[in-house]
């Protein structure tokens, strides 16, 4: 499996992807910081606490990297069908299931890790900035931190799983465009059902999406083994 993942990395160079990750992390840091500053100055109904800051970061990071995941899936999985390279790939003495699972594992692992690292990075920068700008007035206690760590982990898992839905939809029609369009539709719909100003998605919605994603991915991989490669 690991050697298959390495081969995928050889085929699809991800340098550009990682560059985009860095840039979007910087952009998101600035956005969250600006919003927090705004809220602390304007005296709106939102009280700028650490939890608000971290929630805001998390929902932004999740939103961004689920879309990134869809782009990777459109390229690495659906793209192989569209470019017809599957007609070579599937003549190798490796089961289609295994090939697809290793592709999915690569993308999901990258997405999961990037979501966590980005959360950590942005939150640490915010904590650092707060020392100077003091937009959060409360002290940073260990319950806040441990609570956030748990939240970040759980949501990273759920988000990674729900990122499989656009893939399944794209695979139905063998169309990368479907994958990209559907990820935007799903993300904007779930944000519209949000929990207040930090745009965190309701847990029920997030969990449902994750389950749909998991079932869809299983069905897609099962089906791929029996499919004709046109």
């Amino acid at each position: 499996m690991i050697s298959l993942i390495k081969l995928e990395l050889k085929k699809f160079k991800l340098n550009g992807y990682f560059l985009c990750v860095i840039v979007s992390n910087l952009v998101m840091t600035v956005l969250v910081w600006m919003m927090m500053l705004q809220w602390s100055v304007e005296n709106t109904y939102i009280h700028p606490t650490y939890n608000v800051a971290f929630d805001l970061t998390r929902s932004m990071v999740n939103f961004t990297f689920v879309i990134f995941a869809a782009i990777l899936m459109a390229r690495i999985i659906v793209g192989e069908y569209v470019n017809k390279t599957t007609s070579v790939l599937f003549t190798y003495p490796i089961r289609r299931q295994k090939l697809l699972i290793s592709k999915l594992a690569l993308i999901s692992l990258v997405t999961f890790v990037i979501i966590i690292i980005s959360n950590l990075f942005i939150n640490l920068v915010l904590i650092g900035l707060n020392v100077k700008y003091d937009f959060v007035k409360e002290p940073l206690t260990s319950p806040i931190i441990s609570n956030q760590v748990v939240e970040i982990l759980i949501h990273a898992v759920l988000k990674t799983m729900s990122s499989w839905i656009p893939l399944v939809l794209g695979m139905l029609r063998k169309s990368p465009t479907t994958t990209i369009v559907s990820v935007f539709i799903i993300e904007f719909t779930s944000i519209s059902m949000n929990n207040g100003p930090t745009y965190t998605v309701t847990p029920a919605v997030e969990m449902t999406l994750a389950v749909i994603g998991a079932v869809g991915a299983y069905w897609m991989i099962y089906k791929a083994e029996r499919e004709d490669i046109l």
């Binding site: 085929k11 007609s87 070579v88 003549t91 289609r96 004709d228 490669i229």
Partner: protein, 307 residues
């Protein structure tokens, strides 16, 4: 007789269309088997079924004596294939593509990459990305990939498409050499009879999804190729002498001055000449000819032959 490839009642139905029906294919070890058919007859479909890219609607495929089952990959290690349009990871170089192929096939002798590139004459271009390749070059690179791991069975779908005359000749030589030196079994398709005739040991004819004939070239050459062509101004008289005095019946009037005699077993050509001249028939020309198999196969392909 053990076959490297054999199918029985192999059928494929795609969205209501019968693409293949009841194909019984038999490919012996070490032979070069040519599948001949017009465009759309189902040649590529057979290839896709053999490589497992398509699943049969009905029927059984046996490769190396074992039944091919969905998800079973053992036999794939022993097969090299070039099917349809040659497809590569276009952003990678030719060499990188071949390295990937080796890695996926679990073949770790990397010297074979240089050898394969040299065999198809792409040593210099190996470092270029495949994107910049012409169709002919891709076709050759596809062949390099197919033979890279020294497979026991080589499946080539229209390998001569897009090749220039020199490339064509090289391809022919290469296929024969692979068959002779490595004992590879080669299964190739074409719509060009001449090309198959030059290299194949056995030819299968496929028409509208049905395999209508499998013939060994040796037999067919013995049965069909020899005849005597006679050119004379007095055809009517010649015909009557042939049938009455020489008691021949297997001959054919080609045009008003030419007769072809297929019945070669009975009288010797000298006897035919002597009898005709003694009976006052002037002979313009007489010669023994090897017919290309065109007529025979054209009949089969177009459906006017007896099937």
């Amino acid at each position: 007789m053990t076959y490297v490839v054999s199918t029985s009642r192999l059928s494929k139905n795609l969205s209501g269309n019968n693409i293949l029906s009841d194909v019984n294919l038999h490919i012996k070890k070490g032979e070069i088997y040519g599948l001949l058919g017009l465009n759309g007859a189902g040649k590529t479909s057979v290839m896709k079924l053999l490589t497992g890219l398509w699943k049969p609607t009905e029927g059984v495929i046996e490769l190396f004596g074992e039944r091919l089952i969905t998800g079973d990959c053992k036999s794939k290690k022993r097969i090299g294939s070039l099917i349809d349009y040659p497809i590569f990871y276009e952003k990678l170089t030719a060499r990188e593509n071949l390295e990937l192929h080796c890695a996926y096939m679990g073949y770790h002798d990397h010297r074979s990459i240089d050898e394969a590139l040299a065999l198809v004459g792409l040593t210099v271009e190996g470092a270029k990305t495949v994107k910049s390749y012409s169709l002919g070059m891709k076709q050759r690179l596809g062949l390099a990939r197919a033979i890279l791991t020294r497979p026991e069975l080589l499946l080539l779908d229209e390998p001569i498409n897009g090749l220039d005359p020199v490339g064509l000749k090289n391809m022919r030589n290469l296929i024969s050499a692979l068959s002779k030196e490595y004992g590879m079994t080669v299964f190739l398709t074409s719509h060009l009879l001449r090309e198959l005739e030059l290299i194949a040991n056995t030819i299968g004819v496929i028409r509208e999804g049905k395999l209508i004939r499998e013939v060994a070239m040796e037999n067919i050459q013995r049965d069909w190729t020899e005849y005597i062509e006679l050119v004379t101004k007095d055809v009517v008289k010649a015909v009557s002498i042939l049938s009455n005095k020489l008691e021949m019946c297997n001959f054919k009037l080609i045009n008003e001055s030419t007769i072809r005699i297929y019945d070669l077993s009975l009288p010797q050509p000298e006897k035919i000449v002597r009898t005709l001249i003694l009976n006052g028939v002037d002979i313009g020309e007489i010669r023994r000819k090897n017919q290309t198999l065109e007529d025979y196969f054209l009949n089969l392909l177009q459906g006017s032959g007896n099937t």
